[in-house]
Protein backbone atom coordinates (compact mmCIF):
# COMPACT_ATOMS: atom_id res chain seq x y z
CA UNK A 1 0.00 0.00 0.00
CA UNK A 2 1.12 3.52 -0.80
CA UNK A 3 0.31 6.29 1.59
CA UNK A 4 0.99 9.98 1.10
CA UNK A 5 0.80 12.01 4.27
CA UNK A 6 0.59 15.81 3.86
CA UNK A 7 3.24 15.80 1.16
CA UNK A 8 4.63 19.17 0.12
CA UNK A 9 7.29 19.57 -2.55
CA UNK A 10 9.02 22.83 -3.37
CA UNK A 11 11.56 23.75 -6.00
CA UNK A 12 13.30 26.82 -4.65
CA UNK A 13 10.57 29.37 -4.01
CA UNK A 14 8.10 27.50 -6.16
CA UNK A 15 5.68 25.14 -4.47
CA UNK A 16 4.77 22.33 -6.85
CA UNK A 17 2.36 20.45 -4.58
CA UNK A 18 1.12 21.31 -1.15
CA UNK A 19 -0.20 19.19 1.68
CA UNK A 20 -1.25 16.24 -0.46
CA UNK A 21 -2.63 13.11 1.20
CA UNK A 22 -4.04 9.97 -0.35
CA UNK A 23 -3.77 6.20 -0.24
CA UNK A 24 -3.43 3.59 -2.95
CA UNK A 25 -4.40 0.05 -1.99
CA UNK A 26 -2.86 -3.17 -3.14
CA UNK A 27 -4.40 -4.50 -6.37
CA UNK A 28 -5.88 -1.21 -7.38
CA UNK A 29 -5.37 1.52 -9.92
CA UNK A 30 -5.25 5.14 -8.94
CA UNK A 31 -5.64 7.87 -11.52
CA UNK A 32 -4.13 11.31 -11.23
CA UNK A 33 -5.76 13.97 -13.33
CA UNK A 34 -4.91 17.61 -13.69
CA UNK A 35 -4.03 20.34 -16.13
CA UNK A 36 -0.55 20.57 -17.56
CA UNK A 37 1.77 21.72 -14.80
CA UNK A 38 -0.64 20.74 -12.03
CA UNK A 39 1.99 18.66 -10.26
CA UNK A 40 1.22 15.13 -11.44
CA UNK A 41 4.80 14.30 -12.36
CA UNK A 42 6.06 15.76 -9.08
CA UNK A 43 3.69 13.47 -7.18
CA UNK A 44 4.82 10.42 -9.13
CA UNK A 45 8.50 11.21 -8.68
CA UNK A 46 7.94 11.72 -4.97
CA UNK A 47 6.16 8.37 -4.70
CA UNK A 48 9.00 6.76 -6.66
CA UNK A 49 11.42 8.11 -4.06
CA UNK A 50 13.21 10.29 -6.60
CA UNK A 51 12.27 13.49 -4.78
CA UNK A 52 12.46 13.98 -1.04
CA UNK A 53 9.31 15.76 0.10
CA UNK A 54 9.82 19.12 1.83
CA UNK A 55 6.95 18.34 4.16
CA UNK A 56 5.10 15.16 5.05
CA UNK A 57 6.12 11.68 3.90
CA UNK A 58 5.41 8.92 1.43
CA UNK A 59 5.05 5.48 2.99
CA UNK A 60 5.17 2.22 1.07
CA UNK A 61 4.01 -0.66 3.25
CA UNK A 62 4.69 1.59 6.21
CA UNK A 63 8.25 2.47 5.27
CA UNK A 64 9.42 5.89 4.22
CA UNK A 65 10.13 5.32 0.54
CA UNK A 66 12.82 7.96 0.07
CA UNK A 67 15.12 6.24 2.54
CA UNK A 68 14.23 2.66 1.72
CA UNK A 69 16.23 0.92 -1.00
CA UNK A 70 14.19 -2.20 -0.25
CA UNK A 71 10.90 -0.52 -1.16
CA UNK A 72 12.41 1.27 -4.15
CA UNK A 73 13.42 -2.11 -5.59
CA UNK A 74 9.70 -2.94 -5.86
CA UNK A 75 8.80 0.26 -7.69
CA UNK A 76 9.01 0.91 -11.40
CA UNK A 77 8.45 4.40 -12.68
CA UNK A 78 7.73 4.95 -16.37
CA UNK A 79 8.51 8.63 -16.85
CA UNK A 80 6.99 10.93 -19.40
CA UNK A 81 10.47 11.81 -20.68
CA UNK A 82 11.93 8.37 -21.28
CA UNK A 83 15.60 7.71 -20.83
CA UNK A 84 17.57 4.95 -22.50
CA UNK A 85 21.30 4.45 -22.71
CA UNK A 86 22.61 5.91 -25.97
CA UNK A 87 22.67 3.28 -28.76
CA UNK A 88 21.17 0.66 -26.42
CA UNK A 89 18.70 -1.97 -27.58
CA UNK A 90 15.79 -3.15 -25.43
CA UNK A 91 17.80 -6.26 -24.67
CA UNK A 92 20.72 -4.11 -23.45
CA UNK A 93 18.30 -2.19 -21.25
CA UNK A 94 16.86 -5.47 -19.95
CA UNK A 95 20.34 -6.55 -18.86
CA UNK A 96 20.83 -3.13 -17.29
CA UNK A 97 17.58 -3.33 -15.28
CA UNK A 98 18.17 -6.94 -14.29
CA UNK A 99 21.22 -5.68 -12.39
CA UNK A 100 19.03 -3.43 -10.28
CA UNK A 101 15.84 -5.45 -9.99
CA UNK A 102 16.52 -8.91 -8.61
CA UNK A 103 13.09 -10.18 -9.71
CA UNK A 104 13.69 -9.23 -13.34
CA UNK A 105 12.26 -11.97 -15.56
CA UNK A 106 13.76 -12.46 -19.02
CA UNK A 107 10.95 -14.89 -19.71
CA UNK A 108 8.30 -12.21 -19.12
CA UNK A 109 10.46 -9.81 -21.12
CA UNK A 110 10.54 -12.10 -24.15
CA UNK A 111 6.81 -12.80 -23.97
CA UNK A 112 5.97 -9.11 -23.78
CA UNK A 113 8.38 -8.23 -26.59
CA UNK A 114 6.46 -10.71 -28.74
CA UNK A 115 3.05 -9.41 -27.74
CA UNK A 116 4.02 -5.84 -28.60
CA UNK A 117 5.86 -6.95 -31.72
CA UNK A 118 9.05 -5.08 -30.85
CA UNK A 119 12.57 -5.91 -31.95
CA UNK A 120 14.69 -6.39 -28.86
CA UNK A 121 17.98 -6.20 -30.74
CA UNK A 122 17.26 -2.95 -32.56
CA UNK A 123 18.57 0.38 -31.31
CA UNK A 124 15.91 2.10 -29.22
CA UNK A 125 16.71 5.54 -30.62
CA UNK A 126 15.56 4.25 -34.01
CA UNK A 127 12.09 3.64 -32.47
CA UNK A 128 9.20 6.05 -32.70
CA UNK A 129 8.02 7.75 -29.51
CA UNK A 130 5.11 5.34 -29.15
CA UNK A 131 7.34 2.30 -29.61
CA UNK A 132 9.75 3.65 -27.00
CA UNK A 133 6.88 3.93 -24.53
CA UNK A 134 5.84 0.36 -25.21
CA UNK A 135 9.45 -0.71 -24.79
CA UNK A 136 9.71 1.04 -21.44
CA UNK A 137 6.50 -0.59 -20.23
CA UNK A 138 7.78 -4.00 -21.33
CA UNK A 139 10.95 -3.39 -19.33
CA UNK A 140 8.92 -2.13 -16.39
CA UNK A 141 6.60 -5.12 -16.17
CA UNK A 142 9.55 -7.49 -16.60
CA UNK A 143 10.99 -6.16 -13.33
CA UNK A 144 7.92 -7.59 -11.55
CA UNK A 145 7.20 -4.41 -9.63
CA UNK A 146 4.71 -4.23 -6.76
CA UNK A 147 4.16 -0.60 -7.66
CA UNK A 148 3.90 0.63 -11.23
CA UNK A 149 3.92 4.37 -11.85
CA UNK A 150 2.82 5.49 -15.30
CA UNK A 151 3.32 9.12 -16.24
CA UNK A 152 1.20 9.98 -19.28
CA UNK A 153 2.19 6.58 -20.61
CA UNK A 154 -0.75 6.26 -22.97
CA UNK A 155 0.29 9.39 -24.83
CA UNK A 156 1.32 9.08 -28.44
CA UNK A 157 0.14 5.49 -28.89
CA UNK A 158 -1.99 4.37 -31.78
CA UNK A 159 -5.46 3.10 -30.75
CA UNK A 160 -4.64 -0.59 -31.04
CA UNK A 161 -1.39 -0.30 -29.06
CA UNK A 162 -3.12 1.85 -26.48
CA UNK A 163 -5.73 -0.84 -26.09
CA UNK A 164 -3.07 -3.52 -25.83
CA UNK A 165 -1.13 -1.55 -23.24
CA UNK A 166 -4.31 -0.87 -21.30
CA UNK A 167 -5.18 -4.57 -21.22
CA UNK A 168 -1.63 -5.55 -20.28
CA UNK A 169 -1.61 -3.18 -17.32
CA UNK A 170 -5.05 -4.39 -16.17
CA UNK A 171 -3.98 -8.00 -16.48
CA UNK A 172 -0.71 -7.37 -14.67
CA UNK A 173 -2.48 -5.56 -11.84
CA UNK A 174 -5.04 -8.34 -11.38
CA UNK A 175 -2.44 -11.12 -11.60
CA UNK A 176 0.25 -9.64 -9.35
CA UNK A 177 -2.05 -7.59 -7.14
CA UNK A 178 0.18 -4.59 -7.54
CA UNK A 179 -0.64 -0.92 -7.06
CA UNK A 180 -0.70 1.27 -10.13
CA UNK A 181 -0.75 5.04 -10.30
CA UNK A 182 -1.42 6.46 -13.72
CA UNK A 183 -1.39 10.14 -14.57
CA UNK A 184 -3.22 11.61 -17.50
CA UNK A 185 -5.04 14.69 -18.64
CA UNK A 186 -7.46 12.54 -20.58
CA UNK A 187 -10.35 11.37 -18.43
CA UNK A 188 -11.83 9.07 -21.06
CA UNK A 189 -8.62 7.12 -20.89
CA UNK A 190 -9.00 6.55 -17.18
CA UNK A 191 -12.65 5.47 -17.08
CA UNK A 192 -12.78 1.72 -16.74
CA UNK A 193 -9.15 1.54 -15.68
CA UNK A 194 -9.06 3.29 -12.33
CA UNK A 195 -10.61 2.36 -9.01
CA UNK A 196 -10.09 5.83 -7.71
CA UNK A 197 -9.37 9.06 -9.45
CA UNK A 198 -7.91 12.18 -7.89
CA UNK A 199 -7.95 15.62 -9.37
CA UNK A 200 -5.02 17.92 -8.71
CA UNK A 201 -5.69 21.60 -9.14
CA UNK A 202 -3.91 24.60 -7.69
CA UNK A 203 -1.22 22.35 -6.14
CA UNK A 204 -3.84 20.58 -4.04
CA UNK A 205 -6.06 17.56 -4.23
CA UNK A 206 -9.40 18.99 -5.30
CA UNK A 207 -11.16 15.67 -5.39
CA UNK A 208 -10.40 12.05 -4.54
CA UNK A 209 -13.15 9.59 -5.26
CA UNK A 210 -14.13 6.04 -6.07
CA UNK A 211 -14.98 6.03 -9.77
CA UNK A 212 -18.01 3.73 -9.51
CA UNK A 213 -19.52 5.53 -6.56
CA UNK A 214 -19.10 8.96 -7.97
CA UNK A 215 -20.68 8.23 -11.32
CA UNK A 216 -23.66 6.75 -9.50
CA UNK A 217 -23.96 9.74 -7.18
CA UNK A 218 -24.72 12.51 -9.64
CA UNK A 219 -27.04 13.15 -12.51
CA UNK A 220 -27.56 15.89 -14.99
CA UNK A 221 -31.08 17.16 -15.59
CA UNK A 222 -32.46 18.90 -18.61
CA UNK A 223 -35.84 20.49 -18.07
CA UNK A 224 -38.18 22.62 -20.10
CA UNK A 225 -41.13 24.57 -18.71
CA UNK A 226 -43.91 26.38 -20.46
CA UNK A 227 -43.00 29.67 -18.81
CA UNK A 228 -39.52 30.97 -18.31
CA UNK A 229 -37.95 30.01 -14.98
CA UNK A 230 -35.00 31.42 -13.11
CA UNK A 231 -32.51 29.70 -10.85
CA UNK A 232 -34.49 30.90 -7.82
CA UNK A 233 -37.37 28.63 -8.87
CA UNK A 234 -35.20 25.60 -8.21
CA UNK A 235 -34.12 26.57 -4.74
CA UNK A 236 -35.78 23.49 -3.25
CA UNK A 237 -33.51 21.29 -5.31
CA UNK A 238 -29.88 21.13 -4.33
CA UNK A 239 -28.09 21.72 -7.61
CA UNK A 240 -24.89 22.88 -9.26
CA UNK A 241 -23.84 24.18 -12.67
CA UNK A 242 -27.11 25.88 -13.44
CA UNK A 243 -27.28 26.80 -17.11
CA UNK A 244 -30.13 28.41 -18.92
CA UNK A 245 -30.62 28.74 -22.62
CA UNK A 246 -34.00 30.28 -23.28
CA UNK A 247 -36.49 27.84 -21.84
CA UNK A 248 -34.07 24.96 -21.70
CA UNK A 249 -32.44 24.56 -18.32
CA UNK A 250 -29.71 22.16 -17.31
CA UNK A 251 -28.14 21.50 -13.94
CA UNK A 252 -26.36 18.82 -11.96
CA UNK A 253 -27.84 17.19 -8.89
CA UNK A 254 -25.69 15.49 -6.32
CA UNK A 255 -26.98 12.78 -4.01
CA UNK A 256 -30.67 12.05 -3.98
CA UNK A 257 -31.65 12.70 -7.58
CA UNK A 258 -34.78 10.56 -7.45
CA UNK A 259 -36.15 13.05 -4.98
CA UNK A 260 -35.06 15.89 -7.26
CA UNK A 261 -36.83 14.26 -10.18
CA UNK A 262 -39.94 13.95 -8.07
CA UNK A 263 -39.85 17.62 -7.14
CA UNK A 264 -39.26 18.61 -10.74
CA UNK A 265 -42.21 16.57 -11.94
CA UNK A 266 -44.38 18.29 -9.34
CA UNK A 267 -43.53 21.59 -11.05
CA UNK A 268 -45.34 20.34 -14.18
CA UNK A 269 -42.55 20.58 -16.70
CA UNK A 270 -42.92 19.97 -20.42
CA UNK A 271 -39.82 17.83 -20.37
CA UNK A 272 -37.59 16.26 -17.75
CA UNK A 273 -34.58 14.29 -18.83
CA UNK A 274 -32.04 12.71 -16.56
CA UNK A 275 -28.56 11.71 -17.70
CA UNK A 276 -25.75 10.03 -15.84
CA UNK A 277 -22.69 12.27 -15.80
CA UNK A 278 -19.49 11.38 -17.57
CA UNK A 279 -16.36 11.61 -15.46
CA UNK A 280 -15.34 14.66 -17.41
CA UNK A 281 -18.54 16.45 -16.53
CA UNK A 282 -18.19 15.52 -12.87
CA UNK A 283 -14.74 17.05 -12.71
CA UNK A 284 -15.78 20.13 -14.62
CA UNK A 285 -18.72 20.54 -12.26
CA UNK A 286 -16.34 20.24 -9.35
CA UNK A 287 -14.08 22.94 -10.74
CA UNK A 288 -17.00 25.24 -11.46
CA UNK A 289 -15.82 28.77 -11.91
CA UNK A 290 -12.24 27.76 -12.40
CA UNK A 291 -12.56 26.87 -16.06
CA UNK A 292 -11.40 29.38 -18.61
CA UNK A 293 -13.71 31.99 -19.94
CA UNK A 294 -13.08 31.58 -23.64
CA UNK A 295 -15.20 34.57 -24.53
CA UNK A 296 -12.89 36.68 -22.46
CA UNK A 297 -9.83 35.31 -24.21
CA UNK A 298 -11.00 35.39 -27.80
CA UNK A 299 -13.80 37.95 -27.65
Amino acid sequence: MIELKSVTKKFGDFTAVENLSFKVDKASVYGLVGYNGAGKTTVLKTVAGVYRPDGGEVLVDGENVFDSARQKAKIFYVPDDLYFEPYASLYDMAKFYSGYYKDFSFETFDKLINVFGLDKKARINSFSKGMQRQGELVLGMSTNPKILLLDESFDGLDPSKRNLMNNMVMEYMAERECSVIVSSHNLHELAGICDRIALIGGKKLVMDCNVDDISASRAKFRVVFEDEKTQADFIAINHKNFKKDGKIITFVVEGNFDEAEHKLNAMKPLLVEKYPLSLEEIFLAEMEGSDYDFKEIFG
Binding site: A27, N167, M170, A191, G192
Partner: protein, 125 residues
Protein backbone atom coordinates in the same frame (compact mmCIF):
# COMPACT_ATOMS: atom_id res chain seq x y z
CA UNK B 1 -19.51 -11.76 -24.83
CA UNK B 2 -19.68 -8.43 -23.06
CA UNK B 3 -19.37 -5.09 -24.76
CA UNK B 4 -18.42 -1.96 -22.85
CA UNK B 5 -18.65 1.56 -24.18
CA UNK B 6 -16.06 3.58 -22.30
CA UNK B 7 -17.39 6.82 -23.70
CA UNK B 8 -20.89 6.14 -22.47
CA UNK B 9 -22.36 8.18 -19.66
CA UNK B 10 -23.48 4.99 -17.97
CA UNK B 11 -20.94 3.89 -15.33
CA UNK B 12 -18.87 0.91 -16.45
CA UNK B 13 -20.03 -1.40 -13.65
CA UNK B 14 -23.65 -0.59 -14.53
CA UNK B 15 -22.91 -1.50 -18.13
CA UNK B 16 -21.50 -4.85 -17.04
CA UNK B 17 -24.56 -5.50 -14.88
CA UNK B 18 -26.87 -4.56 -17.73
CA UNK B 19 -25.04 -6.78 -20.19
CA UNK B 20 -25.19 -9.78 -17.86
CA UNK B 21 -28.84 -9.17 -17.08
CA UNK B 22 -29.62 -9.00 -20.78
CA UNK B 23 -27.92 -12.36 -21.29
CA UNK B 24 -29.98 -13.81 -18.45
CA UNK B 25 -33.18 -12.28 -19.76
CA UNK B 26 -32.52 -13.69 -23.23
CA UNK B 27 -31.90 -17.10 -21.73
CA UNK B 28 -28.33 -17.20 -23.06
CA UNK B 29 -27.37 -17.79 -19.46
CA UNK B 30 -29.87 -20.16 -17.90
CA UNK B 31 -30.47 -20.90 -14.20
CA UNK B 32 -27.52 -22.59 -12.46
CA UNK B 33 -25.33 -21.94 -15.45
CA UNK B 34 -21.86 -20.72 -14.61
CA UNK B 35 -21.09 -17.13 -15.49
CA UNK B 36 -17.84 -16.24 -17.17
CA UNK B 37 -15.22 -15.57 -14.52
CA UNK B 38 -14.55 -12.07 -13.25
CA UNK B 39 -10.99 -12.29 -14.48
CA UNK B 40 -11.98 -13.41 -17.96
CA UNK B 41 -14.48 -10.56 -18.32
CA UNK B 42 -11.83 -8.13 -17.10
CA UNK B 43 -9.22 -9.31 -19.56
CA UNK B 44 -11.68 -9.59 -22.43
CA UNK B 45 -12.87 -6.02 -21.98
CA UNK B 46 -9.69 -4.44 -20.64
CA UNK B 47 -11.66 -3.21 -17.64
CA UNK B 48 -10.29 -3.04 -14.11
CA UNK B 49 -10.97 -6.35 -12.35
CA UNK B 50 -12.29 -4.49 -9.29
CA UNK B 51 -14.98 -2.84 -11.40
CA UNK B 52 -16.14 -6.24 -12.66
CA UNK B 53 -16.13 -7.49 -9.06
CA UNK B 54 -18.40 -4.63 -8.06
CA UNK B 55 -20.88 -5.47 -10.80
CA UNK B 56 -20.91 -9.13 -9.70
CA UNK B 57 -21.35 -8.32 -6.04
CA UNK B 58 -24.28 -6.02 -6.78
CA UNK B 59 -25.93 -8.74 -8.86
CA UNK B 60 -25.35 -11.15 -6.00
CA UNK B 61 -26.86 -8.77 -3.46
CA UNK B 62 -29.87 -8.36 -5.75
CA UNK B 63 -30.23 -12.15 -5.81
CA UNK B 64 -29.72 -12.49 -9.54
CA UNK B 65 -26.62 -14.63 -9.19
CA UNK B 66 -25.00 -16.65 -6.42
CA UNK B 67 -21.38 -17.47 -5.82
CA UNK B 68 -19.77 -20.70 -4.76
CA UNK B 69 -16.43 -19.99 -3.21
CA UNK B 70 -13.54 -21.27 -5.26
CA UNK B 71 -15.79 -22.23 -8.15
CA UNK B 72 -17.38 -19.09 -9.51
CA UNK B 73 -20.74 -17.42 -9.93
CA UNK B 74 -23.95 -18.97 -11.17
CA UNK B 75 -27.32 -17.73 -12.35
CA UNK B 76 -29.95 -17.96 -9.65
CA UNK B 77 -32.88 -20.30 -9.98
CA UNK B 78 -35.44 -17.56 -9.97
CA UNK B 79 -33.26 -14.88 -11.56
CA UNK B 80 -35.97 -14.08 -14.06
CA UNK B 81 -38.64 -13.76 -11.40
CA UNK B 82 -36.24 -11.63 -9.44
CA UNK B 83 -37.46 -8.24 -8.35
CA UNK B 84 -34.11 -6.59 -8.98
CA UNK B 85 -34.17 -7.69 -12.57
CA UNK B 86 -37.79 -6.63 -12.96
CA UNK B 87 -37.08 -3.25 -11.46
CA UNK B 88 -34.42 -2.61 -14.03
CA UNK B 89 -36.82 -3.49 -16.82
CA UNK B 90 -39.52 -1.30 -15.30
CA UNK B 91 -37.09 1.57 -15.02
CA UNK B 92 -36.07 1.17 -18.67
CA UNK B 93 -39.70 1.10 -19.78
CA UNK B 94 -40.60 4.07 -17.61
CA UNK B 95 -37.76 6.09 -19.08
CA UNK B 96 -38.72 5.10 -22.61
CA UNK B 97 -42.39 5.95 -22.11
CA UNK B 98 -41.51 9.27 -20.46
CA UNK B 99 -39.33 10.21 -23.37
CA UNK B 100 -42.12 9.19 -25.77
CA UNK B 101 -44.59 11.39 -23.89
CA UNK B 102 -42.29 14.39 -24.02
CA UNK B 103 -41.91 13.89 -27.75
CA UNK B 104 -45.66 14.06 -28.20
CA UNK B 105 -46.41 10.39 -28.82
CA UNK B 106 -49.97 9.45 -27.93
CA UNK B 107 -50.88 6.83 -25.36
CA UNK B 108 -52.79 4.84 -27.99
CA UNK B 109 -49.74 4.68 -30.21
CA UNK B 110 -47.65 3.20 -27.41
CA UNK B 111 -50.34 0.68 -26.52
CA UNK B 112 -50.61 -0.28 -30.17
CA UNK B 113 -46.84 -0.78 -30.29
CA UNK B 114 -46.87 -2.90 -27.15
CA UNK B 115 -49.69 -5.02 -28.55
CA UNK B 116 -47.82 -5.53 -31.78
CA UNK B 117 -44.63 -6.57 -29.98
CA UNK B 118 -46.47 -9.07 -27.79
CA UNK B 119 -48.37 -10.44 -30.78
CA UNK B 120 -45.05 -10.86 -32.60
CA UNK B 121 -43.77 -12.85 -29.68
CA UNK B 122 -46.73 -15.22 -29.48
CA UNK B 123 -46.49 -15.65 -33.27
CA UNK B 124 -42.95 -16.94 -32.85
CA UNK B 125 -43.94 -19.55 -30.30
Amino acid sequence: MIIIDKRSRVPVYEQIKNELMTLIRLGTLSPHEKLPSIRSIASETGINVNTVKKAFSELETAGVIYSVSGTGCFVNDDALANDGLKQVVYRDITDAVKSAISRGIQKEEIIELVNQLYKGESGND
